[in-house]
Amino acid sequence: MVSLDISIQSKVYPNSLERVLEGLDFSVSKGEFVALVGPSGAGKSTLLNMIAGLEKSDPGEVLYNGSSMAGRPPCKIGYIFQQPRLMPWLTVAENLRLVMPKVSDTQIEAILTRVGLSGKSTSYSKQLSGGMQRRVSIARAFLTQPELLLLDEPFVSLDAPNAQRLRDLLLELWQEHKPTVVFVTHDLNEAIQLADRVLFLSSAPGRVVLDKVIGIQRPRHSEDNAFQQWKAQMLSEHSGLLEGDSQ
């Protein structure tokens, strides 16, 4: 497992004067599930990409187990993107083998059965529904048994029952392997349902305005009293939070 220490003074894209992130500091413990909630344009995806090494970061801005990365992140990362991003010219099994070449057919079938896609290993992504493609991307992320799992609004644009099924699946797989998770979402219910801790980001330039531990027993359902109370109390104490306001 891996712990994260993030300390970003300022993040500006090349050829742009606009600051995306500023004064952003937080830590994630090994095996912890942290949700990042913030308005559009708060730099959530940029932050995830910096953690994943897809976006340039300065030395000391992202620390893995207390050490800075040089080039590639020094740990196995699983990333579930907003779009499934499967290679359309590869079958489901080939997509999985791309990230883990030495995996056996039995292992592939096992993980596909786990995500409810038994018998789909020879299908191409165009032959699968949106929900099925997301399941493949979840299987791809978990197949490598990542130490760090990054999720960028993975269930957005899915219908409610499908999204709920995939949330349950994600939680189940996380509890089994216990990778460190950073989950970006703009849906507070989703964050409360899944995470150990929620970090609220301000509107651009993004910084953490509230860091809150969710002390509710799992499994959590949005219709439960404890869930509702926790959410209502937090929103009443911090009105304007979801718009990126710290007050």
Binding site: I77, Y79, R85, P88, L90, T91, E94, L98, S125
Partner: protein, 254 residues
């Protein structure tokens, strides 16, 4: 199923039959040595194929086409990928590419023969040099529109460089490489004939030159038919199966 396929083939052959009918009628009407009938051309084809050395000349030309095609594709893809991937390289070589695209094929052929002699290597080089710029342009366009999101997947999952290139990057260029291969084949065999006409003593181009001196139009058309038939076979046996392979999973189709 069989009847359906037969119908499809007949439907596809219909325009060709109409063309042959019109050609035959026109030839019979004109009764000119410069405009032989379909029957005369096919008779000539039969004669050259079974009693002449058409097969030898076809093979020589095909060898030249194959070698120059492979060289042009390999170098063109390599340069195209580099220019598409690196903006500085592209701006440095862009004007050179425009010049290369616009130099007439005949000039390249003459210069190659003059500078390197009337040898096989000059002929192959002249053909390849003519084709490389068009491959570069097509592949460069492909490399420019490569889906960065898919490349990011490979990077974040730390896919090896070999698999990154062959499983993620290159498949995105296949439709562009295929388009340049297809246009390349038709362009290359035309240039090869000119190269053979100007400086070789074997091959279809050389034969056409000889027939031209005798105004043997039936033989010229017989050789043309034979070569077109070969290209059609290549299209059916190599290009179409490759097309199907590239489009597996619906990639490249809307």
């Amino acid at each position: 199923m069989f009847v359906h396929r037969l119908k499809g083939m007949l439907f596809g052959a219909l325009p060709l039959l109409v063309l042959f009918l019109l050609w035959q009628s026109a030839a019979m009407l004109l009764e000119s040595n410069n405009f032989p009938s379909v029957i005369q051309v096919f008779t000539s084809l039969h004669l050259h194929l079974f009693d002449g050395d058409m097969l030898h000349h076809l093979l020589v030309t095909m060898m030249r086409v194959t070698v120059s095609f492979v060289i042009a594709m390999l170098l063109g893809v390599l340069i195209g990928v580099m220019m598409g991937a690196f903006a500085r390289l592209n701006s440095a070589f862009d004007s050179l590419l425009v010049i290369a695209l616009n130099i007439p094929a005949l000039v390249t052929i003459i210069l190659c023969y003059v500078w390197f002699g009337l040898v096989e290597a000059s002929a192959i080089a002249a053909v390849a040099i003519n084709k490389i710029p068009t491959v570069v342009v097509m592949v460069r366009e492909g490399a420019r529109v490569v889906d960065r999101d898919l490349l990011d997947v490979a990077r974040v999952f730390q896919v090896s460089r070999f698999r990154y290139f062959f499983k993620v990057y290159l498949p995105q260029l296949y439709p562009f490489i295929m388009a340049s291969a297809r246009s390349g084949l038709s362009l290359i065999w035309k240039i090869v004939l000119v190269v053979e006409l100007l400086g070789r003593s074997e091959g279809v181009g050389f034969q056409l030159g000889t027939f031209f001196q005798f105004f043997d139009i039936a033989s010229i058309l017989a050789y043309t038919l034979a070569f077109v038939a070969i290209i059609l076979v290549i299209e059916g046996v190599i290009m179409r199966p490759l097309d199907r392979y590239i489009a597996r999973g619906g990639y490249g189709q809307s």
